[in-house]
C-alpha cells in the first residue's frame, strides 16, 4: 500500500498565488451610476507602508475611483468605473505586490457583533456625558454642604441634575435593563439584575428626594456606575468580537473557490456556498474538494485526514461519495454536489454534535453563581433595614424606605460586575500575543478546571503536510529532484523542494496530471519524477522490500537514464517541539491521552515517541464522545484538542476545547479557542493563563463582595450620603481593575485593547494552506 500514486501535478490550495482563482467579477456590486464596489480581505498588511503601497498602486489605475484599506480589519474597499471584469485585474495587481487577496463576505453574526459594539459605545458616550455634567453639579452641592449653599440653589441644582440624569440613565442603562429582563423572563438571575435594580432604585429615589427638596440625591452615583460598567462590558465584547472575526477571516482565507463545470463544458470559479445540489465541479489533482458530493467521472485517491484522521488515502471512483475538506491526490475528478443532509457521514457528525451540545447544557459562569445568592441576600438586607427602622427604629415610612434603598445602592455590584469581564479582557489580550484566540465567554473559566488533555492525532499532534523523511544516498538525486520539483505546486514536490531549495529551477518540465513530472536533460535522456507507476517501478516488488514500519510513508521515485531509481519517502510529521510541550504538560500534572480515528498501528509509534501510554486508535466520532463521557463520569475535566470533522462532536462534548487554525470550519466553530502557529507551544500558556485568570477573578469577586458588605452596616445605620456612595463605588472598581492588570505584568491597558500583530490571520493562513 505504501506505493501510493504520488502525482507531482496539480496545485495545492494556498492563499493567493496558486490554486484556482475565484472569479471576483461575480462578487462585484454595481450601483446606478455604474460605480463598482468590491470588498476584499488583504493579507500580510502590517503597517502604514503596506497600506500606502497598495492604495497608491490602485490609485495609479485610471478607472479606480476609490481604494481604501482598513489597517485594523485589513479590509479593502475598492470602487471603480468601467467594466466589472476589471475586478480580477485589480486584485491581480495587489497580489503582484506580494499580498494575498481573498473575497470578503460579511456574516450576519459579525454584523450583529458590530451593531452591539456600536450600541455599547454610544451608551458609553451618553453615560459619560451624563456622569460628567451631573458630577459638576454634584460637586457644587457637596461643597455647599460644608459652606453656605442655600436650599433654593441646592434644589435648583438637583433639578438640573435630574433633567440630565433621567434620560441618560434610561438610554445608557439599556444594555443592562434588556439583559436583566431577558434573564428574569427565563426565571434566571444574572449580574444585570442587581445592577438594574440598583441603578433604577437610585434614580427613582433621587427623583423623589428632588421632588420633596431632600438633601440626598444620587444621580451622579447612578451614572458613574453605568459608565464604569459599560467600559468593562465594551472591552469584554470587543475582545471576543475581535477573536470571532479573526476566526471568521481565517475561514474566508482558507475557503478556496471551486471550479464549477458549466453546461458548455467550460469552468467557472465560484465560492463553494454558491453551489446548488446537482451542480458539477472539477477538482484537479492536489486540490481540496470543496463540496460534499458524489464522484461522477474520473478515478483518484483522496486524503481524508481532515475528516476522519486517517493517514492512508482512499481510492475513489465513479459513484463514491466524497466530503468537503478531503484532498484529491492523484487524478482529476468531476464531483456532483449533494446537499449536506444527503452526505451520511457529515449528517451523522452533525447529529452527534447537537446531541453532545445538548447534553453539556449551559455552563454557568462563576460570577453568575455568586450573583445567585448575592442578589437575594442584599435584597433581604435592604428589606430588613427598612422594616427594622420602620417597626423598631421609629422612623416614618419614607425615611425608613430611604435607608432600605441606601443599602441597595451601596451594595450595587459595581466592582462585582467588573470583576470577571476585566480579568477576561486582560487574559484574552495576553493570550492573543501567544497566538490563542478565545471565542467563548466562559472558556477561560472552564480551561482553568482542566486536568486531562485529549489530543487528536492527525493534524493536531502532527502536521497535515508530508515531510521528506528518507532521501536517496546519492546527493545528486536530491538536487536533481528539487530542480524538477520546483515547477510543481504539489505538496510532495514542495516538500522535496524545501529539502534542497538552493538548486536552480529546471526549465521545460512537463507535468502529467495524476502521474508526475518529466524533464529532458542535456543529453536528451528522459528524467521522470513521480509515482511508482509513472516511473515504471514494480510496485509489488517494492512493497515487499518495505517493511511495515514504513507503512506510514508515501513515496516518490526519480528515474534517470542509466541509473538506479531513487526513492523519496514522506511521512506526516509531529508539530515542532511537540515532545517538549507534552513533557511540560505532564510536569504540570495533566493527564494526557490520544484519541485518533487513524489506524492503531499508525498511532502506536507516535504515542511511544511522546511517551503517552493512554492512546486509542480506530475511533469513530461516537467512540470519542463515549470515551470523553466516561472520563467525565470519572470526575475528570477534559480538554479536547482536535482539528478534524470527526473530532467535532468530541470538541463539543469535552469540558473545554481547542482547535488549530488549520482545522475544518465546523471544528473551529465548535471549539472554545483557536490557536495559531505551527506548534502546540501556546497550549501550556493557555492553561496557565486560564488558571491565573481564575484566581484573579476569584480574588476580585471575594474583594468586591467583601467590600460591599463592609459598607452595609454604614448604610443600615443610615449614614450613607451621596458623596460617600460615589467614593465607595469608584474606589472598588479601580482596585478590581488594577488587580486584573496584574495578569499582564507591566503591559499598559492601551496595548491590550489593540492587539494587532498576533491577530493577523493571513500569516497563519499562508503557513497552513
Amino acid at each position: 500500500m505504501a506505493a501510493l500514486d504520488a502525482s507531482l501535478s496539480g496545485s495545492p490550495p494556498s492563499v493567493g498565488k496558486t490554486g484556482p482563482k475565484l472569479d471576483l467579477a461575480t462578487a462585484v456590486e454595481t450601483d446606478a451610476d455604474g460605480l463598482h464596489t468590491l470588498n476584499l480581505l488583504i493579507g500580510n498588511v502590517h503597517c502604514g507602508g503596506c497600506v500606502r503601497k497598495i492604495e497608491d498602486r490602485l490609485a495609479a489605475d485610471p478607472t479606480v475611483e476609490n481604494a481604501r484599506l482598513n489597517l485594523s480589519t485589513r479590509r479593502l474597499k475598492l470602487q471603480w468605473k468601467g467594466s466589472a471584469d476589471a475586478a480580477n485585474r485589480l486584485a491581480g495587481t495587489i497580489e503582484d505586490l506580494g499580498y494575498p487577496v481573498a473575497l470578503y463576505r460579511m456574516e450576519a453574526v459579525l454584523e450583529r457583533d458590530k451593531k452591539t459594539d456600536r450600541d455599547l459605545i454610544m451608551a458609553l458616550a451618553v453615560s459619560f456625558f451624563g456622569a460628567a455634567n451631573v458630577m459638576m453639579l454634584a460637586w457644587a452641592v457637596w461643597a455647599g454642604h460644608f459652606a453656605t449653599m442655600g436650599q433654593g440653589t441646592r434644589d435648583f441644582f438637583h433639578w438640573i441634575a435630574a433633567l440630565i440624569a433621567v434620560p441618560c440613565v434610561y438610554y445608557s442603562g439599556q444594555p443592562f435593563f434588556l439583559s436583566a429582563i431577558a434573564a428574569l423572563r427565563k426565571g434566571q438571575t444574572n449580574m444585570d439584575v442587581p445592577i438594574s435594580v440598583g441603578v433604577t432604585l437610585t434614580t427613582l429615589m433621587s427623583l423623589y428626594e428632588t421632588w420633596t427638596g431632600g438633601p440626598h440625591v444620587y444621580f451622579d452615583g447612578a451614572l458613574t456606575l453605568l459608565f464604569i460598567l459599560l467600559i468593562g462590558r465594551y472591552l469584554d465584547h470587543k475582545v471576543r468580537g475581535t477573536a470571532r472575526s479573526a476566526v471568521h477571516d481565517l475561514a474566508m482565507l482558507a475557503g478556496q473557490p471551486v471550479q464549477k463545470l458549466l453546461d458548455d463544458g467550460t469552468l467557472q470559479s465560484v465560492p463553494p456556498d454558491s453551489l446548488a445540489s446537482g451542480d458539477r465541479i472539477h477538482v484537479a489533482a492536489g486540490e481540496r474538494i470543496g463540496v460534499d458530493g458524489i464522484i461522477r467521472d474520473g478515478t483518484s485517491s483522496i486524503d481524508t485526514a481532515l475528516i476522519d484522521g486517517e493517514t492512508t488515502p482512499k481510492d475513489v471512483a465513479n459513484g463514491s461519495s466524497v466530503l468537503a475538506g478531503t484532498m484529491n491526490l492523484t487524478g482529476p475528478v468531476i464531483v456532483e454536489a449533494k446537499s449536506v443532509g444527503e452526505a451520511t457521514v457529515l449528517a451523522e457528525i452533525v447529529r452527534l454534535l447537537e446531541a453532545a451540545e445538548q447534553k453539556k447544557g449551559r455552563y454557568m459562569a462563576f460570577a453568575d453563581k455568586v450573583v445567585r445568592w448575592y442578589t437575594p441576600t442584599v435584597h433581604a438586607l435592604s428589606l430588613g433595614a427598612f422594616l427594622g427602622w420602620w417597626l423598631f427604629g421609629g422612623l416614618t415610612v419614607p425615611e425608613a424606605l430611604m435607608i432600605g434603598v441606601c443599602v441597595l445602592i451601596i451594595t450595587c455590584p459595581c466592582a462585582l460586575g467588573l470583576a470577571v469581564p476585566i480579568t477576561q479582557v486582560v487574559a484574552a489580550g495576553k493570550l492573543s500575543r501567544h497566538s490563542v484566540l478565545v471565542k467563548s465567554e466562559t472558556a477561560l473559566e472552564r480551561l482553568a478546571a482542566i486536568d486531562t488533555i485529549v489530543f487528536d492525532k492527525t493534524g493536531t499532534l502532527t502536521t497535515l503536510e508530508p515531510e521528506l523523511v528518507s532521501v536517496p544516498d546519492d546527493p545528486d538525486a536530491l538536487s536533481l529532484a528539487s530542480s524538477i520539483a520546483a515547477s510543481s505546486k504539489h505538496p510532495l514536490a514542495q516538500a522535496i523542494r524545501a529539502a534542497a531549495s538552493d538548486v536552480p529551477r529546471a526549465k521545460d518540465v512537463e507535468d502529467t496530471p495524476g502521474m508526475g513530472l518529466t524533464w529532458t536533460d542535456e543529453d536528451g535522456g528522459e528524467v521522470r519524477l513521480g509515482s511508482a507507476r509513472w516511473c515504471g517501478i514494480d510496485e509489488t516488488a517494492n512493497d515487499q522490500s518495505n517493511t511495515t514500519q514504513n507503512a506510514l510513508e508515501t513515496e516518490v521515485w526519480l528515474t534517470r537514464p542509466g541509473q538506479a531509481p531513487a526513492r523519496f519517502a514522506f511521512a506526516p510529521q509531529l508539530r515542532p517541539r511537540t515532545a517538549q510541550v507534552i513533557d511540560t504538560l505532564r510536569e504540570k500534572g495533566f493527564d494526557i491521552a490520544i484519541m485518533s480515528g487513524d489506524r492503531a498501528r499508525f498511532v502506536e509509534p507516535l504515542a511511544k515517541t511522546l511517551g503517552i501510554s493512554d492512546w486509542q486508535g480506530d475511533m469513530t466520532p461516537a467512540d470519542k464522545i463515549a470515551a470523553i463521557e466516561s472520563l467525565k463520569e470519572a470526575g475528570k475535566h477534559v480538554l479536547m484538542v482536535g482539528d478534524g470533522l470527526n473530532d467535532t462532536p468530541a470538541l463539543a462534548a469535552a469540558h473545554a476545547s481547542l482547535a488549530p487554525t488549520s482545522a475544518v470550519d465546523i471544528s473551529r466553530r465548535a471549539s472554545d479557542a483557536v490557536f495559531q502557529g505551527s506548534t502546540l507551544e501556546s497550549l501550556p500558556h493557555l492553561l496557565t493563563t486560564a488558571r491565573d485568570a481564575r484566581s484573579i477573578a476569584i480574588q476580585n469577586i471575594v474583594f468586591s463582595v467583601g467590600y460591599n458588605f463592609v459598607w452595609v452596616p454604614v448604610a443600615v445605620l443610615g449614614l450613607v450620603t451621596p458623596w460617600i456612595a460615589a467614593i465607595a463605588m469608584a474606589s472598588s472598581s479601580l482596585i478590581v481593575t488594577f488587580n486584573a492588570l496584574r495578569l499582564d505584568g507591566t503591559r499598559t491597558f492601551a496595548r491590550i485593547a489593540t492587539r494587532r500583530k498576533t491577530l493577523d490571520p493571513l500569516q497563519k493562513a499562508e503557513a497552513t494552506a
Binding site: A59, N66, N70, S72, A125, F129, N133, F156, I164
Partner: protein, 61 residues
C-alpha cells in the same frame, strides 16, 4: 448667583455639542480604522486622493 443661569446652560450646551460630535464621528466611520488613521498622518501629502475624508464613499466629479 444670576451668573449660574448663564453658565450652567452654557456648560450643558458645550458638552452636548461634544456628544453630538462624537456620535457624528462614530456614524461617519472615523473610528473604523484607528491603526490606519495613526499611520496615515505620516503620509506626505503629494497624493491628494489620500487626503479625502475618512468616509470616502461619495462620487467624485
Amino acid at each position: 448667583m444670576n451668573v449660574l443661569l448663564f453658565l450652567i446652560p452654557m456648560a450643558l450646551f458645550l458638552s452636548l455639542m461634544g456628544l453630538i460630535a462624537f456620535f457624528w464621528a462614530l456614524k461617519s466611520g472615523q473610528f473604523d480604522d484607528l491603526q490606519g488613521a495613526a499611520e496615515r498622518i505620516l503620509y506626505t501629502d503629494d497624493h491628494p486622493e489620500h487626503s479625502d475624508p475618512v468616509n470616502n464613499t461619495d462620487d467624485k466629479p
